[in-house]
Symmetry: C2
Subunit: 261 residues, 2 copies
């Protein structure tokens, strides 16, 4: 595929911690708004869901960064991700003159998923993505609209499903790569992938599969970072032009970690 003929599209995933600090969020939204051209925002919101669960005496259970989602927890994440975080973000982008629309995978039948099969673990109402409706996203983009997507999908049978936001961003980037030249940005609280987790200046500029093997063996890269990087390599293998892991202030500065196959 010749990327030169395709229009640039940014797919930006922003993590929970960035969304929760008011100043960091404002910094992120300012930088997101000035990204030139077409863009899609995918957001998480994990910690606020945990806080609401606590207030409602619903136990939060996580396994390898994935939330076990019983019916009560699904209601909580639908309210927090699909309602509070999504709509506040849209209102904040409208203030900045960015004409956005808040969506879940159910809206416009955007992202279909299968409820994860029960093996040793029953994840509950958790969805594994089967299909991204790139035509619907394209319709919005072509009309100057910026989709803001919450990490919820549906099964087409009326059931909403909790879905990992990193995986959603990667799946959307891959689906859109057939019609756009796609840059996928994972924006989180760190400046990039760090060679020393305690030193925020130890950002690895270019991160290859060789670096990955090494740092995984050393235990430097673990838990939530592993699916993020797996999603990054997967996106690159499936036609996404570039993947960058960075923080709110680094987004427009060509800083952070560039993932390379």
């Amino acid at each position: 595929m010749d990327d030169m003929n395709l229009q640039q599209l940014w797919v930006v995933k922003v993590g929970g911690a960035v969304l929760e600090d008011k100043d960091t969020l404002a910094c992120f939204l300012d930088n997101f708004e000035i990204l030139p051209g077409l863009k899609i925002l995918v957001h998480g919101g994990g910690r606020s869901a945990t806080r609401l669960s606590e207030k409602l005496n619903i136990k939060s259970r996580m396994i390898e960064g994935r939330r076990i989602t019983d019916a009560d927890t699904l209601a909580v994440v639908t309210m927090v991700y699909g309602g509070q975080v999504n709509k506040q973000t849209v209102a904040a982008l409208q203030k900045r003159g960015c004409n956005s629309i808040g969506l879940t995978g159910a809206d416009l039948n955007l992202i279909r998923a299968n409820k994860r099969a029960v093996t040793d673990i029953d994840y509950g109402f958790v969805g594994d993505i089967t299909e991204v409706n790139s035509t619907a996203l394209d319709l919005l983009l072509k009309n100057g609209i910026t989709p803001v997507i919450a990490p919820l999908t549906h099964d087409g049978e009326g059931q909403l499903l909790n879905t990992n936001a990193d995986s959603m961003a990667s799946a959307i980037a891959i689906a859109m790569a057939t019609v756009y030249s796609v840059s996928l940005i994972y924006c989180f609280e760190k400046a990039g992938v760090l060679s020393n987790p305690d030193d925020d200046t130890s950002v690895i500029s270019i991160f290859t599969s060789a670096s990955y093997r090494l740092l995984k063996e050393k235990g430097t890269i673990h838990s939530g970072m592993i699916p993020k990087i797996d999603n990054s390599f997967n996106a690159l293998r499936k036609g996404v032009k570039e993947v960058i892991i960075t923080n709110a202030s680094g987004m427009n500065m060509n800083s952070g970690t560039h993932i390379s196959l």
Copy 2:
């Protein structure tokens, strides 16, 4: 304006009580889905917001059917109306093959409002509608998409505002009446406007401003019904073709109460 040349559009408002009973909701959604042609759904969701507020120890205060909305209550209604009720309804419509999209007034800058001025009463984060973006709604409708709208607006400065769903439906119907032949349906738990509130068979088929004066004086019509009927007359005066008040099962049967100037 010659209605003969305009395409039919249904604007249906469904109330909280209909949404909360599983069977009634399924009946409503089945009937909504088979309405022929273009349609917009506006929903409330008041009682579930009250229930979540209770669980979170947030006091619900209502004055003349309007919820006093402090910051905590705004978070609750954003979660319940914009998240839970809205996204579940969208997923249920997708199951029925109705390609819907869940929205608030902030999405696509759809509905702007001013925070209500403080007089004797401080309603808090409550919005009075100033503008409906009919162009954005038209874009969705022309692409075969059914908007499902939660009763939240924004002020353009990043602030979401709680807004009465009956007023939203009326304002949307009026805005769309310039380009469509609009029927506005208020769907709630009763079969229509009743001449005897205790007798569900006492539906008034045609309700005029003369009937209104009479029944208001007698006290038969009061509280939440008054803004609904005021909104109905206002819609008719401003170009909406017809206004019908009915229940879930009456929606496709030409039953219920037809409001007439």
